[in-house]
């Protein structure tokens, strides 16, 4: 379960002063649900997710993830979260097995449990062939599979995906989408940020539209289309976000 209440993140810049990355963002995601965070570049998606994953501290507001407060118990929150983003890379000089083992240990798992979990994940993700090869030599698909295994090693209840298909080829992106669906099927609470409309339509049970750091609208894809009278999600998004397009 994710419950964000009035989450605000302010960055202070010497030249630009205070910048609101997110402002009073509130939403709730329940287990077995995929919540899509839809927004343009710079809308505040990454900041929101980084605050939820406790990589950044909120300036005000709060959020409870898997029963733990992000401000009071950030380590406990991270122990229940799997965070996958285009910016979370792998250690090139480690093998896939070493990489996953490392994060298993950092999550406090015993070596025997890590070994068993790696076998299970390698079976599911078809990783056996490259498990003992160094990550620096991997194809994009292999890297994504290793990253997924890294996020799942401790079997977290909450999964946070920050534009995980950014820059990936079609087949790798499809594999990621399939994996996100699997997470939902296993009863995990999933939050998924993207600016790709088709991914939202395919994946998300509910969508939150974020623009200029504010959550402008929330609902199922059908709700959003009905509310705007549009048949195309992209048009609905532009209307709901209040974006004025240049003539």
């Amino acid at each position: 379960m994710i419950e964000a209440v009035n989450l605000t993140k302010i960055f202070r810049d010497k030249k630009r002063g205070e910048i609101f990355a997110t402002k009073d963002v509130s939403f709730r995601v329940v287990p077995g649900e995929i919540y899509g965070l839809l927004g343009a570049n710079g809308a505040g998606k990454t900041s929101t997710l980084r605050v939820l994953a406790t990589l950044l501290a909120p300036s005000s507001g709060s959020a409870v993830i898997a029963g733990h407060d992000i401000v009071r118990a950030p380590e406990k929150v991270r122990a229940h979260v799997g965070f996958l983003a285009a910016s979370t890379a792998l250690y090139g000089r480690l093998t896939a097995r070493e990489m996953i083992t490392y994060f298993g240990r950092l999550n406090g798992m015993a070596d025997a449990a890590i070994r068993a979990r790696i076998k299970l994940l390698a079976d599911e993700l078809d990783m056996h062939e490259f498990l003992d090869r160094r990550c620096e030599k991997f194809s994009t698909g292999m890297k994504q599979k290793t990253s997924i295994a890294r996020t799942l090693i401790h079997d977290p209840a909450v999964m946070i995906f920050d534009e995980p298909t950014l820059g990936l080829d079609v087949m790798t992106a499809r594999a990621i989408v399939r994996f996100v669906r699997d997470c939902r099927a296993r009863g995990k609470t999933v939050i998924y940020s993207t600016h790709v409309m088709s991914e939202v339509e395919k994946l998300c049970d509910r969508v939150g539209i974020i623009h200029d750091g504010r959550l402008c609208a929330e609902g199922t894809v059908g709700d959003l289309l009905t509310r705007t009278g549009e048949t195309d999600l992209e048009e609905a998004f532009v209307k709901l976000a209040g974006i004025k397009e240049a003539a």
């Binding site: 990589l55 979370t88 250690y91």
Partner: protein, 407 residues
């Protein structure tokens, strides 16, 4: 603080760095092979150059002296010089290094000596040129001998003893134990080398594990783990410290082995520098306890370096940017280390608080077997405080979002 997490991070960083060719180069190959090779290579070349210069028979020109045949005959008999005929361009020849020295004998030099006059012999040479310097030495030795012989003859003519002009003799004898002499010689250079090696050894791991990780995108991955950030800093910091200490230890080990293997080659030179003509040891000896003392004193300095480099590199967005921050720091480190090597600068309570310089000074004394416990305590204590502050600063920087997510 969770030691299991710290150990996990440290072990991973060690494995990661040892697989990196650049680390192996900077932490193992350079200290183990390149540094001693450079040091001894330069030493070997210097020895060869000096030996070759000494082996050469210098060409010497006598200006004038036609009326002093006996002196010319004696000069011709000197095996260590090669007397060449007089030429008008003698000064140019010295400048061109074709001629090492020219000696001007005043008119009626021999007659003047016999008549009891005090004529002046001028030696023209090339200032600062090694071979010309050796030739000057030979000529001065010759004329000193001639001067002494003339004085002896004049005294004999008047029935006076030779001791009239040389009433007594002086001789030098070293009473300092060999380890003190050796400590004084090595005491200057050894701490300087240790300081530089400690610094250099910390640079690459610190840059790779901070700015390098940020650049490669693995820092964010690591921060996703439930490990406390203090534990992450400590795990990484211990790895930087390992790099610093291992670079120093490997260098010292490699140099010690090379030193003993090549001992005979350097023995003469080292003893000459130490002024320890009386010591029969081929190498300068140092107080073994001093070495342990130096290593103990180096530890907090290595911590200080590791924490400072870690903090500075953490601020950078990329490895390249971190390099541009750390490189100027080398001068900040070298300056106090060099000042500590200068003769005449002695340890006092004020200098004992100046980081790096205090280490350089106290090591010089410890290697000579001098133990100022009060200063040692001040230096160790103050350096520990500086190191602690630097480490606390590193933790603080790591907790700053604008530093970790600086783009």
């Amino acid at each position: 603080m969770n030691w299991r997490s710290i150990r996990t991070i440290y072990t991973k960083e060690l494995r990661d760095l040892l697989r990196d060719k650049r680390t192996v180069r900077s932490m193992i190959v350079i200290p183990l092979i390149v540094m001693p090779a450079l040091t001894f290579g330069v030493g070997k070349i210097a020895t060869m150059v000096v030996s070759k210069a000494r082996a050469e028979t210098p060409s010497v020109m006598v200006l004038g002296g036609a009326d002093s045949p006996d002196v010319i005959t004696q000069l011709k008999k000197e095996a260590k010089i090669n007397l060449v005929p007089e030429a008008a361009d003698w000064a140019q020849q010295i400048s061109d290094k074709k001629l090492r020295v020219a000696v001007r004998l005043p008119e009626k030099f021999e007659a003047g000596l016999k008549a009891g006059a005090a004529p002046t012999v001028t030696i023209y040479h090339y200032e600062g040129e090694l071979k010309s310097g050796f030739a000057v030495g030979e000529m001065e030795k010759f004329f000193r001998g001639l001067s002494a012989q003339t004085a002896k003859e004049r005294l004999a003519e008047h029935g006076l003893p030779a001791t009239l002009v040389q009433p007594f003799e002086t001789k030098r004898e070293n009473v300092a134990p060999p380890e003190k002499v050796g400590g004084n010689t090595l005491g200057g250079i050894l701490p300087y080398m240790i300081i530089i090696l400690c610094f250099m050894g910390a640079v690459y791991p610190a840059l790779d594990m901070t700015a390098g990780e940020k650049e490669r995108g693995t820092m964010e991955t690591l921060l996703c783990s439930p490990v406390n950030r203090v534990d992450i800093v400590l795990g990484k910091f211990l790895m930087v410290l390992t790099g610093s200490l291992s670079a120093m230890a490997l260098s010292l080990l490699s140099m010690s082995v090379s030193f003993f293997l090549l001992g005979s080659m350097f023995g003469g030179r080292a003893a000459a520098v130490a002024g320890a003509a009386a010591t029969s040891a081929p190498l300068p000896m140092i107080d073994p306890l001093g070495i342990f003392g130096v290593l103990a004193m180096v530890l907090p300095v290595a911590v200080l370096f590791s924490a400072v480099i870690f903090t500075v590199a953490l601020f950078a967005k990329s490895f390249k940017e971190a390099q541009s921050y750390v490189q100027p720091m080398v001068f900040v480190i070298i300056m106090p280390a060099i000042i500590g090597m200068l003769p005449g600068i002695d340890l006092n309570a004020r200098l004992a608080l100046v980081p790096i310089l205090n280490l350089s000074l106290v090591c010089k004394e410890m290697l000579s077997g001098v133990w100022h416990w009060n200063y040692i305590a001040i230096i160790f204590g103050s350096t520990c405080v500086y190191a602690g502050v630097a480490l606390a600063l590193a933790v603080r920087m790591f907790n700053r979002e604008d530093v970790i997510f600086r783009t």
